[in-house]
Symmetry: C2
Subunit: 338 residues, 2 copies
Amino acid sequence: MDQPDVLAWRDGHIEALDQTALPHQVRTLRISTVDQLVRAITSLAIRGAPVLGAAGALGVALAVRQGHAEGWDRPRLDAEIKRIADARPTAVNLSREVAAVSARIGPDAVSIDAVSIDAGAVEAAALAVLDATAAVSHEISERGAAYLTATCGGGPLRIHTHCNTGSLACLGWGTALGVIRALHEGGALRHVIVDETRPLLQGARLTCWELGQLGIEHQLVCDGAAPFLISRGLADAVVVGADRIAANCDVANKIGTYGLALAARQAGIPFVVAAPESTIDQATPSGAAIPLEQRAEEEITVPTAPVGTRALNVAFDVTPAELVSAVVTEARVIPGGR
Amino acid sequence: MDQPDVLAWRDGHIEALDQTALPHQVRTLRISTVDQLVRAITSLAIRGAPVLGAAGALGVALAVRQGHAEGWDRPRLDAEIKRIADARPTAVNLSREVAAVSARIGPDAVSIDAVSIDAGAVEAAALAVLDATAAVSHEISERGAAYLTATCGGGPLRIHTHCNTGSLACLGWGTALGVIRALHEGGALRHVIVDETRPLLQGARLTCWELGQLGIEHQLVCDGAAPFLISRGLADAVVVGADRIAANCDVANKIGTYGLALAARQAGIPFVVAAPESTIDQATPSGAAIPLEQRAEEEITVPTAPVGTRALNVAFDVTPAELVSAVVTEARVIPGGR
């Protein structure tokens, strides 16, 4: 799978693989307006913390183009950019990259025209975010594989993972799935156990698809089964990504992560978080301060529960640092509290 | 919902509510042969440890009737009865009740005819199992509610539960869901959090349906979310049923239970197992000796994962006694290892 297929900038538009259609359809969305981008992000057609950051970066370039074409004033442009930044609340990457690329617009650009805003410079900044995102994921992958090999010892490893953290989420190799890929390429991987990751099944739909493309042996399990399978010794380590990491190393990630961390500690196996430095939010002191997105109840209740059933659909959880063995970034291995 | 609707003996046939059709259809199966009964059990049309026991008891009566009609010899009858006992391996109730009612056939009944086997006595023994199953569930319900009220203190309780353990699984009021119903009737229940219980969604389909019928407030959550929600203080206690309890108090129950027990201990809330004495298997020294049914991979992979994806579908897990606060039966409260 080529990286541009996941997310790309072509002729002034964003092209993105529609991740809601996978694995049964491989379909690319052509996104020309802020409205379309916000819809793609909230529907999870575009998803994964690093890809959300890159999409936010491209979104600023898209907003500048649309603003030029439709004659927006500066407050309108700022409001449209803010809509992109706010499209999903938990991953810090989205708002961070939107802010970084927006800075290229300049505070003195009071009206939106070609003189006061250099659209080319904004686009170049956005494309640099894409390149950096892919490069960072390779560094995380290699560092994580080296850490696991050193920590778990010789033989090929059995890795338990959650949600989707590969190219689809991160560009390049991915974070947790990039670590798995690096282990595989180094002959140090036996197989992968993948949580299906209800309610939207990113593990079943996306991770199994990526692992299949890569020829990596894997088995799908139900989320509720994971802690028990870990207790019975079916994995040598748990490796997951992160949507936001607080200053104290508490980790917000897709709902279901916390239970894996508890089980890993109980079983005495490493619980490793693979994430870019940009995921670490020094402004958030601990997990208690991280906003956790609540999504539509229908994602859980339809079509199986009786009509009218209420649901609680918290999309992320927080794993306290005391349950984390290490956070591996492109720059370093940060010890957790275990 | 009347108890006979779940499972009944009418005119020499078994009638059973088809639990695979709920909640969208309320449909009764009429079962006239051992083949049909085995199919109903393996497909989970008939399910839940105590109901499996009652169905096994009725199955012996059914086999005797079919054997008379078709002129089976004694080895054939014994083989057919063994097929019923072996239809599912984890719950001890099925094989236990089959054995208990089979004992009425007598060891000296070498040929199957009305002289050597008193079909009426076998049927009476089977019906007594049905009555006793319902009566036992009421006693468990009342004892469990009293235990929780005493343990958790005054205010109305928020209870987290898993899978389905009500009338549909147990006749009468149920085990864990019976405890919840008894709390509700006593004004001591605030609401219930229900795990959807993948892959077959007994929580979403059956427990939500039963709670709706009873007018008990509840919210459905994904299995992977449960440990985190418990960590954030959303429940005052976890109450589950059991498929088999080993002599050392290790508890086999629907996959997903172990993660709840870990989370309950971490959060400092009680983890209570409600089950009949018949679920306790003194012949099984610990959870390591309990066979854990592995079911078809397609229950997990279809329709969401890429075609060809392999899965690991372990239907039950074992919660070690050290994570159990108490096992509540119709006769006593057995302290766990916490």
